[in-house]
Symmetry: C2
DNA sequence: GGCGGCAATATTGTCAACAATTTTGACAGC
DNA sequence: GCTGTCAAAATTGTTGACAATATTGCCGCC
């Protein structure tokens, strides 16, 4: 995430000047629920905190709204977006398409050996870790998988869209991991995906990733009342 | 396009106040190359033209930049984005994933009979129209296909992403149609996609749509020097 | 003609003030 | 306690001025 935000700034050669710093920080806080859903955002307060003009904050708000992270209501201000269940379903449907493509492109474009280290990471030691309910290590592994695929896919447009989606859903994804049996299932799925990727079977890897996101969506729908 | 822009305004209950009007108009001009790539956009001039504050224009610029339609350079202003070949390739890769998902969802969600009228539209009379090099009718049919799929897919997040992508690529897509044989190929492909959709074969429809976008990308790459 | 220097001009970025709108708090009445 | 009214306070939206930065035009020199 931080890397992607940084790469965007680099790519635009500082196009947004001070906005990137503010934007990156607000994205982080919103994505992590440091600023939780429903919280109002005050222009002047943020301008003071970040030492920028109010105009700069308003500029940033435009971008945050476009990324679905906040909602602005005329004359009333901005609030951090609350995700409703139907919107989450929509996000999963889009995520399914984009992450499947990410995996497909990564498989097609990556040189041999790219996925060896990750395959080890998702190996027997991780199974043992999960048996002890250590979700941190699993989460970190999934994060690493994700980053490596994005890098290998080598598509900045896709990368940005995935980041944007992730900003909006990461706390939910984190909660999903806690559901009994979900992590173990996800683990198996990632192992299969990686096996297909190592074998260079892009279409199969894509199909498996698609199934992985669909199952996440199913878990969300089955446990919806505990998650929201 | 106009409908989607309108639906966004409705959904947010006027969240952006006057920004939507300005945003919609600038999107239209940029997408259609009324404001062609490379053209500078002057804040004060636009503020005067639209009768809004300069702050409102800057707000809109933030959004346009987030949608990839303009680039802003500190202290120098905004210009309409020029699409380089590698960025176009990236856009095609993303488009492939999203439009395939659009078609898949549309197939899964639409009631029987939804695609009958479109199938007729892409029928023998359109073949005859194309034989006379009447691309307008074909383009209109593809547009109608697209809109109907977006509506049937019933996913606002996906819809917005597709709109955003289309804004950025529509002039190129229009040029592609002119290439000798491209429209005829596209025509066949749409007929096949619609057949799969009518048969309720979501996965097959998706595969065919994917192939359709991939072939568009191939045509772009083969005729790149004539198109840019 | 090309280059450099410099002033004039244009444009963005910021600031402060104020208009417009909304929210909050205090109070009275039921 | 709840509701309505009204003033005070808070916040957004706009405006104009000006600082900061970049561009353009003019002139002189080689």
């Amino acid at each position: 995430m931080a890397e992607s935000s940084q790469s965007k700034a680099t790519r635009s050669a500082g196009a947004r000047g001070g906005t990137d710093r503010v934007l990156g920080e607000l994205r982080r806080r919103i994505a992590n629920h440091v600023l939780p859903p429903g919280v109002p955002l005050r222009e002047q307060d943020l301008a003071t905190e970040f030492g920028v003009s109010r105009a700069r904050i308003r500029d940033t708000f435009g971008i945050l709204e476009e990324r679905g992270l906040i909602e602005r209501i005329p004359n009333r201000g901005a609030v951090v977006t609350r995700l409703e269940a139907d919107k989450i379903t929509e996000l999963f449907e889009v995520r399914e398409a984009l992450e499947a493509q990410m995996v497909r492109l990564a498989t097609e474009k990556a040189p041999p050996g790219t996925w060896d280290e990750l395959t080890e990471l998702f190996g027997p030691s991780m199974n043992a870790t999960l048996a002890e309910n250590d979700f941190d290590a699993y989460e970190e592994a999934v994060h690493k998988f994700r980053q490596q695929c994005i890098a290998a896919a080598d598509n900045a447009v896709l990368s940005d869209l995935l980041d944007s989606l992730y900003d909006r859903t990461q706390m939910l994804i984190r909660r999903l991991v806690l559901l009994p049996g979900r992590a173990q299932e996800g683990m198996r799925q990632h192992q299969e995906i990686l096996a297909a990727m190592r074998a260079g079977e892009a279409e199969e890897a894509e199909r498996l990733k698609r199934a992985n996101i669909r199952s996440a969506r199913d878990w969300f729908q089955n446990y919806q009342k505990y998650l929201m």
